[in-house]
């Protein structure tokens, strides 16, 4: 493991893996991978013996990264998430939970963020309950990159996950997996879905 984050002292290997996967899914959704990214992605070789849903989905993502063309993917990304006024999918917690943006789920998230020492960067206007922001938050909380500068305990991670991600993000990833605008992003949806399933089950094990 050669992640050179400043804080990696107290993070268990399996938790580093979790953080890595959150970061990975977040980056795939942040902006359409360009030609260089796609080449890199297609070069990742997931363990062939891994028959888990995460392994399956990851193999699809890396295989499709080798097939899709940069411009086509950029268009697909635009249709899915940007659109004319609105994309096919609206990846915000508040929207999934209430049907509207900027409702109470966003306010609740902001309270949690403030307690955890997470602040929106200057110049970012997008609401914090965007799926990408939440993936980044989980990554940072697991690694201890925020205000407290130590990894958040698993119990606290579970609380954050259940309150702000578990209730809706599966539905989003399911929608992403089901759309037929972009096979690549359908695979990303499967990966996100598989990751959340594992997270949900693993959080139930911490007693």
């Amino acid at each position: 493991m050669s992640q050179s984050t400043s804080v990696d002292i107290a993070v268990a290997p399996e938790d580093t893996d979790r953080a890595l996967l959150y970061g990975f899914v977040g980056r795939l959704l942040q902006t359409a991978p360009d030609a260089v990214d796609l080449k890199t992605l297609s070069g990742i070789t997931p363990d062939a013996d891994d028959v888990s849903p995460i392994g399956d989905a990851l193999r699809k993502v890396t295989a499709l990264a080798g097939e899709v063309d940069e411009a086509a993917l950029k268009r697909q990304y635009h249709d899915l998430f940007v659109g004319l006024g609105r994309g096919e999918l609206v990846p915000f917690g508040s929207y999934y939970l209430t049907g509207f943006l900027n409702e109470k789920p966003l306010a609740d998230l902001r309270v949690a963020m403030s307690k955890l020492g997470i602040e929106r960067a200057e110049g970012v206007k997008e609401p914090e309950d965007h799926i990408v922001a939440l993936m980044q938050m989980m990554e940072g909380l697991i690694l201890g990159n925020f205000g407290h500068e130590v990894p958040l305990s698993l119990c606290e991670q579970r609380t954050f996950f259940n309150d702000h991600i578990g209730k809706w993000a599966s539905h989003f990833f399911k929608d992403l997996a089901a759309q037929d605008t972009s096979p690549f992003y359908a695979a990303v949806g499967e990966l996100g879905q598989a990751m959340l399933d594992v997270e949900t089950e693993a959080f139930e094990m911490i007693g």
Partner: protein
Amino acid sequence: MDKKTPDSADRRNFLKLAGLGTLASGATVVAGAAEAAAPSQDAGTGYRETDHVKRVYETARF
């Protein structure tokens, strides 16, 4: 503060079997991909605000 929580062997094994480590072998490659993506922040196209969310939460500290 209980930063080191009792992490059961069950959970650890479960995560391993669930394929959480599948990506780990490609870790450095993936990080490289993110770096490569960083400079391509052209104005006015794509998913504007989200492009800018990039890493901001990771670096926000008090």
